[in-house]
Amino acid sequence: MNGIEVKGVSKNFGTLAALKEVNVLFEENRIYGLLGRNGAGKSTLLNVITGRIFAEQGTVTIDGEVSAENDRALKNIYMMSEKNYFPEGMKVRDAFKWTKEFYPAFDRAYADSLSAKFELNTNKKIKSLSTGYASIFKLITALATNAKYILLDEPILGLDANHRDLFYRTLIEKYSENPCTIVISTHLIEEAAGVLDHVVILKNGEVIRNESKDDLLAGSYMVSGVAAAVDAYYAGRNVLGSDSLGGLKTAYVEGEPDAAGMPDGLVASRMDLQKLFIQLTNA
């Protein structure tokens, strides 16, 4: 089967179960959002997929080949981490040179053009880059590898609004010209939502949602109105959570709004991804 298939993966750090029998398939040519609160297991899952750490149980296959300690499988995947794993004293241009050595499909011209776009000085040493530019360097490297599967762990860490906007546009451009699977792990859900077409949500080391963004958002809504009316409305329904402000209340409900319409005084509206994420992961 093509794609990255994670089967029954568990990983513990001491007594902490970071991943609990995780099963997930990252299919070809899709942009995934890997979402979860701090400590949910996002980075751990990405590190297990790329073989940087070992799972206690379970397997990861890339296009049907077990990825652990398999150079052939691993060359199809590139992960941009929150941490920098290039030598600190290495210059950006040398990092590009060495990445090309490991990933022959690395497009140096594209990396240089992106560096110019993001105003990244390739003569600088990696250790001298600011947090934002260190992220830009890692992003450019990841996108230029032309790997079949690109995993981005906190790709926009430290980027200003302009650079974040440029990144999303660059990502879409890259994806439309040269489709690949991109997995974005981020906390800036509202911003990233525009580029995602599939969402995997982790909570306490378990996958609680794994579906297309549209299906996920279509499966819930919010109802606002006077508290008593909202309480009466959601009795017997599957409520994800609620917020109260003064005498007003908003309830987040799973399912579809009643076709017959809402009771008087209540307004139903679609949830955005961030709101839904908060409700799903709050408890």
């Binding site: 790329t50 300690e69 150079d71 992960m79 981490s81 490991f102 022959p104």
Partner: protein
């Protein structure tokens, strides 16, 4: 492909320090030979001592052994992280590193063999004795053998010692990488403490010096000292040490996780 990339990276990583090292060696020998040739300088250094016939310069390859040991200590962490970033398996990291050791060890053994030949040839004109590691370990054999045989055996001996120095350095650095903080403290204090305090006291109080004698005998045996000038004993010991420490390093590398 990945093995080749790791190999190239390790060699690239090592090349600058090797160049600087040989520049220093060239400067030191240049100064010594200039002093000898012009009779301008009377040299008295750790490795050059006065003899009846003039000067004796010996065992300069020990500097290479120390250099390569330190080099081995620096060959893991950075390469491991870079390789993990670039989708390389641990097996390829280890294999690429081991291959780079063969190249670096072989290359430096060759350079040092040539240096010895040049040194012996030059020094003999000025009544100076120039000895390599091989001449020190196999003095009688070296005096009897042809120049080519000495060069060949000297090269092999250097190579085996250099491989051992690299392997021990690599093993130590991989070991430290795999240890947690407490284990690092225990090993850092415990190992030197054992050799400096426990071993001598135990030897004097419990074994009446037998332990030291046994260690000296073992070292002599390993270096061929008890087998009449046979350099192949020392070569074998060097290769065995290399194989053991590289093997142990592999066992630790193959399950090494990336650490932040």
């Amino acid at each position: 492909m990945n093995l080749k990339s790791v190999y190239k990276y390790q060699l690239d990583n090592f090349s600058k320090s090797i160049l600087i090292y040989y520049l220093v060696i060239a400067c030191v020998f240049g100064l010594i030979f200039f002093g000898i040739a012009t009779s301008f300088v009377t040299i008295k250094m750790d490795f050059a001592e006065s003899t009846n016939s003039g000067l004796n310069i010996s065992g300069f390859e020990f500097a290479s052994v120390v250099f390569l040991f330190v080099g081995g200590l620096n060959m893991f962490r950075e390469t491991f992280r870079l390789s993990m970033q670039n989708g390389v398996s641990r097996k390829s990291i280890w294999s690429g590193t081991a291959l780079s050791f063969l190249t670096v060890g072989g290359g430096m053994a060759l350079i040092d063999t040539v240096t010895r030949l040049v040194g012996v040839n030059f020094a003999s004109r000025y009544n100076v004795e120039f000895q390599g590691l091989y001449d020190l370990l196999c003095a009688d054999r070296s005096a009897k053998n042809s120049m080519i045989q000495n060069a060949f055996e000297g090269f092999l001996l250097n190579f085996c010692f250099y491989m051992a120095a690299l392997a021990i350095g690599y093993f130590i650095t991989v070991g430290y990488y795999r240890m947690n903080k407490i284990a690092k403290i225990i090993v850092s204090i415990g190992v030197p403490g054992f050799y400096i305090f426990v071993l001598p006291f135990a030897d004097v109080l419990l074994f009446k010096g037998a332990l030291t004698n046994a260690i000296v005998k073992a070292i002599l045996f390993a270096f061929g000292g008890t087998n009449g000038d046979n350099p192949y004993f020392a070569m074998g010991s060097g290769l065995l040490v290399s194989a053991i420490f590289l093997g142990l390093a592999y066992l630790m590398v193959r399950r090494a996780p990336i650490k932040d």
